[in-house]
Symmetry: C2
C-alpha cells in the first residue's frame, strides 16, 4: 500500500500551469542503445525521462502493457516509476481495465493502492458496475475510454445507437457524466483522441467539466492546435498526452535533453494556442 | 518466454471430454483460514485447487486482477499458476485487455509469451486493430467480450445500433466472426454470460463455430441447464466457467476435496443436460 488520502484529482489538475501529459511507453527494442538491455535499461530510461520533463509536465502516463511484458520485474518497475513520477506530477496509469464486481475492485486496489496512481484509464464496455470501484475513490480519477485515437475506433464507437442516432461514444460520454454527478462526484474523466478534434468539442458539450485525456498528438497525426481551439472557453481541464513525440525525440545519448526540449516546445505550443483562442 | 508453438486452441478444446472451466479468483480475505495469509496462502490455494479439479476440467481461468493486487509477487505467482494449470488443461487468462497498436502487441506478448496462456479475454471497445495482435496468433485464442454477465452489461451492450436495431453485442459478435475468417482464422471466441441463455443462442447464430466462454453460472444466477439447451446441436465448442461454485465450495480444511466434488458434479450436470438436449 502506498499513498494515503490525496487532494481531489480534478483540483490538482486545475491548479497545474501545464496541460502536457508525458506518456511513458518503454518498448525495449526502441530505447537509446547506450542504456543497455533488459529491465535495467527500461528503468534508467523511465527515470531519466521523468527527471528531464517533470518541469514541463502536469502529468505522466506510464503504460502498463510495456511493463507487464517484462514479467514480475516489470510490475515492480512500474510501481517504482509511478512513485518517482508522483513526486513530480500527477500520475495516470494507462491500463484500460474493465471487469465486474469483486474483480473490478481488485483492479482498482492494484492500481490506486498497489501502484499508487492518482488516476487510471478504464474501459466502459461492461457498464456502470464495472466502473464503480474506480469512481468511488474521492481522491482519485478514472479516465473512461470514449473516442479513442485509432482507426478501429470507428468499428463500434461510431455506431449510431438508440432512437436519436448519436454515436455510441456520445452515449458513453452522457452516461459517464451522469454517473459522475453522484457521490463522491468529480472522479470521472474521458479519453478522446486528438485525431478527432471535432468529436472532442461534442464530448465536452455532453460532459461539461469532466477532465479530458487526449492522446494521439504527433505520431498518430492529431492536430494539437485544433484540439486546443475546440476546448477554448469550455468548462473543465484537459491533458494533451504525448508519448513518442517526447520520449523518442532522440535515440542518442542526448535523449533526455531532447525529451526536455520537446516537452518545453509542446508546453509552449499549447499555451500559445490557448492564448490565440481566447 | 514460455511455451513454443501449440495445437490450435479450437482443436484442443473440441477434443476435450469436459466443458467445465474452473475459475481461479483468489481473494486473500476469502481463502480457507488454515492456508495462512499473504502470497504464500494464495499460492497454496491455487495449486491445490488445480490438482483437485484438473481431472474434471477442460480449462482453468485465472483472473489477473486478483494476482495484480498482490504486486510483483502476484504477477510471478500468476505465471506459476498458468504453468501449473497448463500441464493439466487449457488455460484462459482472464485479463480483459484492450488497447491499440504497439500497446496491444505488448499485452499479447505479456499474456501469451510471458505468462504462457493458451487463451485470454479481450475487450472489443477499441475495434479491430486492438484485437489483431491477439487474433494473429494461430496457436492461441482470444475470447472477445460480447454479452457479459453483470447488471451493467445493459448500459451499452444492449443498446440498439445502426439501422437494423440489433443490440451492440450482436454487432460485436458479427464483426468478430467476420474478422475470425481471415488468416490465421479460428483464433477468436466470444464471452457470453450464463445469465442470458437466450442471448447465448442469438450470439451462436451470428457467430457459428466460435468457441464460447460462459461465466455467471452459480453465484451470479446463471442457469446451467438452460445454457446447454440453447447450444445443443449448434456448431462450435463452449466452456461453462464456474469460479466460487467450485473454489469456494468449502472454506474448511476440506476445500480441495469439496472443490473436486463440486467440479465432478458440474461436469456431470453439463453432460446430462447435453444428453437430454440431443
Amino acid at each position: 500500500m502506498v499513498g494515503g488520502s490525496r487532494e481531489p484529482f480534478r483540483d490538482r489538475l486545475a491548479a497545474s500551469t501545464s496541460r502536457l501529459c508525458v506518456g511513458i511507453d518503454p518498448e525495449p527494442a526502441s530505447l537509446p542503445p547506450h542504456l543497455g538491455v533488459g529491465v535495467g535499461a527500461v528503468r534508467r530510461f523511465c527515470l531519466e525521462l521523468i527527471e528531464a520533463t517533470a518541469d514541463q509536465a502536469a502529468a505522466f502516463k506510464p503504460n502498463s502493457a510495456f511493463f507487464e511484458q517484462l514479467g514480475h520485474e516489470g510490475w515492480e518497475l512500474l510501481r517504482e516509476v509511478v512513485q518517482a513520477a508522483g513526486r513530480r506530477a500527477l500520475v495516470v496509469v494507462d491500463a484500460k481495465r474493465g471487469d465486474i464486481g469483486s474483480t473490478a475492485a481488485a483492479y482498482a486496489r492494484a492500481i490506486f493502492d498497489g501502484l499508487g496512481a492518482d488516476a487510471c484509464t478504464v474501459n466502459p464496455y461492461l457498464g456502470r458496475d464495472a466502473l464503480s470501484p474506480f469512481l468511488d475513490r474521492a481522491d482519485r480519477l478514472a479516465f473512461v475510454l470514449c473516442r479513442t485515437s485509432n482507426p478501429g475506433a470507428a468499428d463500434f464507437q461510431d455506431l449510431p445507437v438508440g432512437g436519436g442516432g448519436a454515436p455510441l461514444y456520445i452515449q458513453v460520454a452522457k452516461a459517464v457524466a451522469m454517473w459522475d454527478r453522484e457521490p463522491p462526484a468529480g472522479t470521472a474523466g474521458l479519453v478522446v483522441g486528438a485525431t478527432w478534434p471535432q468529436e472532442l468539442g461534442r464530448v465536452r458539450e455532453e460532459a461539461p467539466g469532466l477532465p479530458l485525456l487526449i492522446p494521439g498528438v504527433g505520431a498518430q497525426g492529431g492536430d494539437l492546435e485544433a484540439c486546443v481551439r475546440e476546448l477554448a472557453g469550455t468548462a473543465g481541464s484537459y491533458l494533451i498526452s504525448v508519448s513518442r513525440g517526447v520520449a523518442a525525440a532522440s535515440r542518442g545519448r542526448d535523449f533526455a535533453e531532447a525529451a526536455s526540449r520537446a516537452a518545453a516546445e509542446l508546453h509552449q505550443r499549447i499555451a500559445a494556442a490557448e492564448q490565440t483562442s481566447e
